[in-house]
């Protein structure tokens, strides 16, 4: 009995669209796409009608209006005459402030609690269980509100406040006051000396590793590096006549002046979020450590490694592969939960952009779009980086190959020879194998572009008339895309991912577009003429792409893809 899969005699019938597996998938996708398009069209149409009915327009021009409200916790210059966009940036920075400190503190708490919960000391591990199970199961909003109320009531008024920790911290119910650094003449040299010493220490570390690989001898790397950095910096500090000092806050009138000021709400929010997230991190840490089998430790001991090295070289690298992905999502959760600042009056992004700016301007649609865009940007960039990291550390599986999907490299195939997607696990494909050191400078180029665009778009104090939000849509979009793709190129280069070439190519396209529409590069960097940036940037980008595609060494291992025949 013969079975024919293709029957050329049967002509196409309409029901083959959903009965024949050759057409079904395409048909279903088209139907779904059409339905979604119709739904979006309907929604957009409704929005347009509603906005028109309320007499509102859809532009972001309001971001350049004066904000006329005060924010008393801020990292950059801001007055009530500043624009709404500056207020938004103050809010964004406040969110990031909480996120950064919260993540650090949560990690400290979480790792400690996680390790202690595994301790064979019965009472300690039970205490940690109580902490973890108690905190995890109570809504974080309640904890934030409670802590904030407790701090408000328990702490003294500034008039009665006393400094603790040797004057380092003055808690009051208005906020916490820390001494701040004061930079006088010559401090620049101290900072420069510090940076230079870090570079030397890094160079020394590489030299030491090469030496160990060649001779088998080890040096006390950590102490030598510490000596280089601390010694140089302290020496420079003393030579320049101690230019960096501390300024202690002083009570003037009803409030403290000087030093660094952190509002009670900021402290309460950071503490509550880190205690809450710490409980989750503790569980991640515990799971990660427990997942590494005892045999790994025993095998390392059998090889003669001491406990410290066993931990550092054997257990931690394996445990981190398990711990880090959920850890990152905990950091993301903390960042997103920091929007609860709204409930205790801390002016973060949700409090400025989604709070007062929304209420004052009545532009619910635009402000919420910007607010969501901000959180989305943070989340997506972190998950982008996470994906790059995961591709580096994931275990080799039967079907796992890196690459796949369209890549700009395919276009170069005809010019530079045939490219092949390699399976992971090949020793020469390991990320750090044979990377030309100077390629790290590429990171600097894209990093500088990214930082410059960010600064120019969001921070630079400009006349309201040429604010980013008043540009034409084309300029706005291309600027944003250039910023995004310079960041993407930077990250892919740091992680030595083969997509770097794609990102660099796309970035080049937007760079050229930005030049063509006349983006004022010259304004962005003080003193550097426009032409230098335009032509220099173009040449550098072309050189990088050319080298990674046609160059002899780095592309063989740098991007996981090789030319056919160059290995066997």
């Amino acid at each position: 009995m013969s079975v024919t899969t293709e029957n050329p005699g049967v002509s196409f019938r309409i029901d083959m669209l959903w009965n024949d597996s050759r057409y079904r998938s395409t048909f279903l996708q088209i139907v779904a796409l059409v339905l979604v398009m119709l739904a979006i069209l309907w929604l957009v149409n409704n929005v347009a009608q509603n906005l028109a009915a309320l007499g509102k327009d859809f532009s972001f021009g309001f971001m350049s209006w004066p904000s006329s409200y005060d924010i008393n916790q801020r990292l950059i210059e801001y007055t009530s005459r500043s624009s709404h966009s500056t207020a938004a940036v103050v809010g964004l920075l406040n969110t990031l402030l909480v996120a950064v400190f919260g993540c650090i503190l949560a990690t400290l708490i979480g790792v400690t609690a996680g390790v202690l919960r595994l301790s064979h000391n019965w009472i300690v591990s039970k205490l940690m269980t109580v902490y973890i199970e108690g905190i995890r199961n109570i809504p974080v909003l309640i904890q934030i509100l409670l802590l904030s109320a407790v701090l408000d009531e328990a702490l003294p008024h500034p008039k009665n406040a006393e400094a603790i920790l040797g004057g380092f911290l003055t808690p009051t119910n208005r906020g916490f006051y820390f001494p701040g650094p004061v930079f006088s003449d010559g401090s620049l040299y101290v900072v420069l000396a510090f940076i230079a010493s870090v570079c030397v220490a890094v160079w020394f570390g590489r030299w030491s590793v090469r030496r160990q690989q060649a001779t088998g001898e080890q040096l006390p790397d950590f102490w030598i590096k510490l000596g280089i950095i601390a010694g140089t910096t302290v020496l420079a500090y003393l030579v320049m006549g101690m230019p960096i000092g501390l300024e202690y806050p002083e009570l003037k009138g009803f409030n403290f002046q000087g030093g660094i000021y952190a509002r009670t709400s900021l402290i309460a929010l950071t503490l509550a979020l880190s205690i809450y997230t710490g409980a989750f991190i503790a569980e991640n840490v515990r799971a990660g450590i427990q997942a590494i089998s005892q045999g790994q430790t025993e095998a390392a001991y059998a090889l003669g490694l001491r406990p410290g090295r066993t931990m550092r070289l054997i257990v931690l690298p394996q445990a981190l592969r398990i711990i880090i992905p959920p850890q990152i999502s905990q950091y993301l959760n903390l960042t997103k939960n920091s929007s609860l600042a709204l409930a205790i009056g801390y002016m973060d992004a949700a409090g400025t952009l989604g709070g007062i700016t929304l209420n004052q301007t009545g532009k619910e649609f635009q402000t919420l779009m910007l607010l969501m865009g901000f959180y989305l940007t943070i989340s997506l960039s972190i998950s982008f980086v996470m994906n790059l990291y995961n591709e580096q550390v994931k275990l080799v599986e039967r079907t796992s190959v890196t690459g796949g999907g369209f890549s700009v490299l395919a276009l170069f195939g005809g010019v530079s020879g045939k490219w092949e997607v390699l399976k992971k696990g090949d020793a020469r494909m390991q990320p750090n194998f044979g990377v030309a050191g100077w390629l790290n400078l590429v990171v600097l180029l894209y990093g500088a572009t990214f930082a410059m665009m960010l600064y120019y778009v969001f921070l630079e104090p400009r006349e309201a008339s040429n604010s980013y939000y008043l540009w034409s849509t084309g300029h706005q979009v291309i600027t944003l895309l250039l910023t995004v793709f310079s960041a993407a190129a930077m990250m892919t280069c740091i992680f030595k991912h083969y997509r770097f070439i794609d990102m660099a190519a796309i970035e080049l396209v937007f760079f050229i577009l930005a030049v063509l529409i006349g983006l004022p590069f010259g304004d962005m960097t003080v003193g550097v003429p426009n032409s230098v940036i335009v032509f220099g940037g173009l040449a550098a980008r072309l050189a990088i792409i050319g080298y990674t595609v046609f160059g002899s060494r780095p592309n063989v291992t740098f991007f996981y893809r090789v030319r056919e025949g160059s290995h066997s």
Partner: protein, 440 residues
């Protein structure tokens, strides 16, 4: 001389093993091994004991020994504490909970109708019993399926006609799709299912309201007194949002996870965009969207209830997270399972239903339950947009002149409520994991 050196003792057998030293066994040994094993551990133990001694007795003293349960205001509370325990003593003022308990439980629900939410809550246990425990009779699942409408009807009240007609939607859809439609397109499952869904939605959109009105005018009003959404509050509101969100997010999450794993590019892209968008923004911004923006997306002039809008948003939010957890379960399955299902000749839906999903869901249970817990905790966020859930009730109470200055008692009470629910959910998930474990 030789007799002097005669052998005095010859072992005739093995000496029985002697008991271990007293300080290595029993309670003392346990304490030595677990609490005072090394200097660091001893310090940790002493520090922990110090913390416990410093924290626990004062809390017990404050909360239970000196707590006041009956008083009209905070001042009265303090007077009672001072009168019974002497000057300078401080005790918890649980009287505020005692006075406001109904507000905490039901919000501003009409007191004479309290039996309705209570009945709905009790039926909830009947409805989730077959889901939680496999020993319950399977027929009860039909009740679980109908429960959301029953609960809706009990809590919000209104005419029974609307509820019944809504319930009839799928039946009508089935009749149209698989009975009446047969003459047009024969025995085709996909078309039948599509027509069923379409007919059901059309029924809900266009038939329910006019027929319900007609029934009301002909037969008369049958049902309960309607209760406005803004009167819902307290734990009633939290549980309502939580239960709807939980039961809605699981099926949507499964569909999204399958879509994200799909080989169809358009479907996959849509699912990825939806999931990543929802997961990338905080719930609070979505609640803002629900409270100020959702009306922009509807045809001009329409608007619907805030609680309903919030419930929709919370459900969508939770389903994106659920999709990721289930995707994790799907990814954890070895590819041999998919290949074996293909080799048996199962089609996509059969393989998914019989081979893939049961295993993937089993792997995903801890994640699913912790999502449920997260969702239930997140219901407190509705207080930020002005709904009066337990957290939203705290500030009005603290602003009341009689209870001005009260703090710990209120927060502890609300926290304890959430803790009990969330902790029991996490214990249940551990029980389930253990029960479903098929390997050793």
């Amino acid at each position: 001389m030789s007799s002097d050196r005669s052998i005095a003792f010859v072992a005739s057998g093995q000496i029985p093993p002697s008991a271990p030293p007293a300080n290595l066994t029993g309670p003392i040994g346990w304490v030595r091994e677990n609490l005072f094993d090394g200097i660091l551990n001893s310090i940790l133990t002493l520090a922990s004991i110090a913390i416990i001694v410093m924290v626990v007795p004062p809390i017990i003293d404050w909360a239970f020994l000196k707590g006041v349960w009956n008083a009209g205001s905070l001042g009265e509370c303090r007077e009672i504490v001072v009168a019974t325990h002497g000057e300078g003593a401080s005790g918890a003022c649980w009287a505020v909970i005692h006075e406001r308990i109904y507000q905490f439980l039901f919000g501003f629900y009409p007191p004479e109708l309290y039996w309705r939410p209570i009945l709905a809550f009790m039926l909830l246990f009947v409805a989730i019993a077959p889901v939680l425990f496999s020993s319950a009779p399977r027929q009860m699942l039909w009740f679980s399926l109908a429960y959301p409408l029953i609960a809706f009807f009990l809590i919000w009240g209104g005419s029974i006609w609307g509820t019944l007609l809504f319930l009839a939607g799928p039946v009508v859809g089935y009749l149209v799709g698989f009975r009446a439609g047969r003459f047009a397109y024969g025995d085709n499952f996909i078309v039948g299912a599509a027509v069923t869904v379409l007919a059901t939605v059309l029924w809900w959109l266009f038939a329910v309201t006019p027929i319900a009105d007609a029934l009301t005018s002909t037969i008369g009003f049958v049902g309960f007194e309607p209760v406005e959404s803004d009167r819902l509050g307290g734990f009633l509101l939290s549980i309502t949002i939580g239960v709807i969100g939980i039961s809605g997010s699981l099926p949507i999450g499964i569909v999204l996870a399958l879509g994200r794993q799909s080989s169809m590019f358009a479907i996959k892209t849509m699912c990825v965009v939806f999931i990543e968008f929802i997961r990338g923004v905080p719930l609070i911004t979505l609640l803002f969207v629900a409270s100020v923006l959702l009306n922009y997306f509807l045809p001009p002039g329409t608007s619907f209830d805030l609680v309903l809008r919030v419930v929709i948003m919370v459900t969508l939010f939770a389903s994106a997270y659920m999709a990721e957890v289930i995707r994790g379960g799907l990814a954890a399955l070895p590819s041999g399972q998919y290949e074996a299902a293909d080799a048996l000749g199962l089609n996509y839906w059969q393989a998914t239903r019989l081979i893939i999903m049961p295993q993937a869901l089993k792997v995903a249970i801890p994640g699913i339950v912790s999502n449920f817990i997260g969702l239930f905790k997140d219901t407190t966020l509705v207080s930020v947009i002005g709904l009066l859930d337990p957290v939203g009730l705290l500030n009005p109470i603290r602003a009341d002149s009689a209870w001005n200055g009260i703090l710990w008692e209120l927060y502890m009470f609300v926290a304890l409520f959430f803790w009990v629910f969330c902790f029991s959910m996490s214990r249940y998930s551990m029980y389930l994991e253990k029960k479903l474990k098929t390997d050793r």
